[in-house]
Amino acid sequence: MTVQELPGAGADYRPTPPPAWRPRIDAAPLLPDAEPHRVLGTPAADRLDPDLMRRLYAELVRGRRYNAQATALTRQGRLAVYPSTVGQEACEIAAAAVLEEQDWLFPSYRDTLAAVARGLDPVQALTLLRGDWHTGYDPRECRIAPLSTPLATQLPHAVGLAHAARLKGDDVVALAMIGDGGTSEGDFHEALNFAAVWQAPVVFLVQNNGFAISVPLAKQTAAPSLAHKAVGYGMPGRLVDGNDVAAMHEVLSEAVAKARAGGGPTLIEAVTYRMEAHTNADDATRYRTDAEVEAWRAHDPILLLERELTQRGHLDDEGIQAARDAADAMASDLRDAMNAEPVLDPMDLFTHVYAEQTGQLREQAALLRAELEAEEQ
């Protein structure tokens, strides 16, 4: 068929857009705000719930204390390693606070604080980092997935779990946490895409703390913001001040509510800062200046909330002291608990490889048992 043979040839034909093409959805509502969303210190703070804020305040103080205690434990040889979230407590606390009992948290290796804030026994949360086992808790009991060390790999898990719950008709939202560096991994991309296609009830929380170990965000991405990545999946992107716990709570709550209502996933970028080194084993002076760190001190998440609440008369010295006392008590319990030697059974090595031990594992277990018995004698 040539044009001469075509019906209507020669008339003033104008081709239509390609038949299959139509804009699938409007991109505009997916785009994040031009600036990180903030509440504290803005007029929006007028409508804050003082009770909720006092609760979050106490959690922040406790979180800070938890961080300090955990780092101290590394120095005492009680933890193999600890990645601190000092400076990032507002993200960790808000993430735990917005979830219902039946919801699931998918933390990255850094997010033991979120797990603890969710109610997990700190000793269980720190098992991985103490080194007596990998995951120190039953994920199904507390609905907290194992802390994920391979970056971004927990995101598809969150999507699959949320999808499965939705298929079953259960009211479950999954909240998955990841760092700025982790967004460069292929698994981030695949997880967000599956979530959007399946309209799974997931919220992706990126803590942009400025660094992936030593690598600053500028070497990680050229995007306008990490929240802008949402557009390419057809889900909304939100940009939040990650040190503003009120803003974090608001944006996370909205995203969780949207997911719960069947509205699909949201990507949230929390702009924050890692005040301490990557872990106790890291030397941050190799890649950043004190001045940079100092600039963030005035934007400390605890200070921001404390100032707002005291100025409004919602918090007084007594309240502050009570929060600190509670935090101290937690820290002292944690110290005591971690000073107890963990009970180790080397035979555990063979117990949970398969549902049923294979012949070769039975032989290896026997070998180790014999060795241990010989040692005892």
Partner: protein, 333 residues
């Protein structure tokens, strides 16, 4: 062997399809997912009709991303489902290896048994079908070297059914390796009265013999049976053991055979160096050293990237190469 009167010729593909269907019908937590498994029924039609029968939520065309497929399956299993995922071809499972090695294989262990992952991963594997590059890999060595995974592969129509049902029923992750070139192999089989294979991990003696043992699996089983027939002319009576399961490895069945025959050749399509045969030969030797008249030999694919279609026949272990190896088993000693 299905001996019921209703036995009719069936292909391995049909038996696999039936196994998936029966598992889905019996257990509502069984979910299929992968590229083209829904509407199309899979490029090999193994999932044909299942999306129609059980709905797209139970048999799902996913986005094109293998790590995403396996990663979301992990999450689904965490919530209590039994996902069966298809990797369209062997080499296209590689993008999912991080999820496989770091999560699928380890989750039970990491959580002290609290969160086992009953996932079946279907991997059509091997060559001999004229596929272009990346469509004919035999990747079982990677899976074997990863504690926490089961690795099975059928060689017969009835085992295809039985192993698939056992894999889906397993509370552990199973790599279910489907020998592509046996998809269209046929046998009399009664789908209404299928034989169960029992728990994963038992080898089957496909042919009894006294002179030497051929140890093999998957696509090489028919080749070894053919070689055993041909060997009769040379005066050798070969036993053929079909491993069916590489992990767990049925050491007892294999060792019993080799102790009896005193000679063994391991045959597989995967490359020799670093391939499954090394483990098998080493293990047999450890167990049967004083029964061996000759070293355990291996006939395997060459240690090269899988060849293009027009040259693959030179690569694949065939009857002659197997017989040559048997001849080298030091019969004069």
């Amino acid at each position: 062997m299905a001996t019921a009167t209703a036995a009719k010729p069936a292909t391995m593909a049909q038996a696999l399809n039936r196994a998936l269907r029966d598992a889905m019908a019996e257990d509502p937590t069984v979910h299929l997912m992968g590229e083209d498994v829904g509407t199309l029924g899979g490029v090999f039609r193994i999932t044909d009709g299942l999306a129609k029968e059980f709905g797209e939520d139970r048999c799902t065309d996913t986005p094109l991303a293998e790590a995403g497929i396996l990663g979301t399956a992990v999450g689904m299993a965490m919530y209590g489902l039994r996902p069966v995922v298809e990797m369209q071809f062997d080499a296209f499972a590689y993008p999912a290896f991080e999820q496989l090695f770091s999560h699928v294989a380890k989750m039970r262990n990491r959580t002290r048994g609290a969160m086992p992952l009953p996932i079946t991963i279907r991997v059509p594997y091997g060559g001999g079908i004229g596929g272009v590059e990346h469509h004919s890999d035999s990747s079982e060595a990677y899976y074997m070297a990863t504690p926490g995974l089961h690795v099975v592969t059928p060689a017969t129509v009835e085992d295809a059914y039985g192993l698939m049902r056992a894999s889906i029923a397993s509370d552990d992750p199973v790599i279910f390796m489907e020998p592509k070139r046996l998809y269209w192999s046929k046998a009399d089989w009664n789908p209404e009265a299928p034989t169960a294979v029992g728990p994963i991990g038992s080898a089957a003696v496909r042919r009894q013999g006294a002179s030497a043992t051929l140890i093999t699996y998957g696509p090489s089983v028919p080749v070894c049976l053919e070689a055993a027939e041909a060997a009769r002319e040379e005066g050798w009576d070969l036993e053929v053991v079909d491993l069916r399961s590489l992990v767990p490895f049925d050491e007892d069945t294999v060792a019993a055979s080799v102790r009896r025959t005193g000679r063994a050749v391991v045959v597989h399509e995967s490359t020799g160096f670093g391939g499954p045969g090394g483990e098998i030969a080493a293990r047999i030797t450890e167990r049967c050293f004083h029964h061996l008249e000759a070293p355990v030999l291996r006939v395997a694919g060459f240690d090269i990237p899988y060849p293009p279609p027009m040259l693959e026949k030179h690569h694949l272990p065939g009857v002659d190469r197997i017989l040559d190896a048997v001849a080298r088993l030091q019969w004069e000693n």
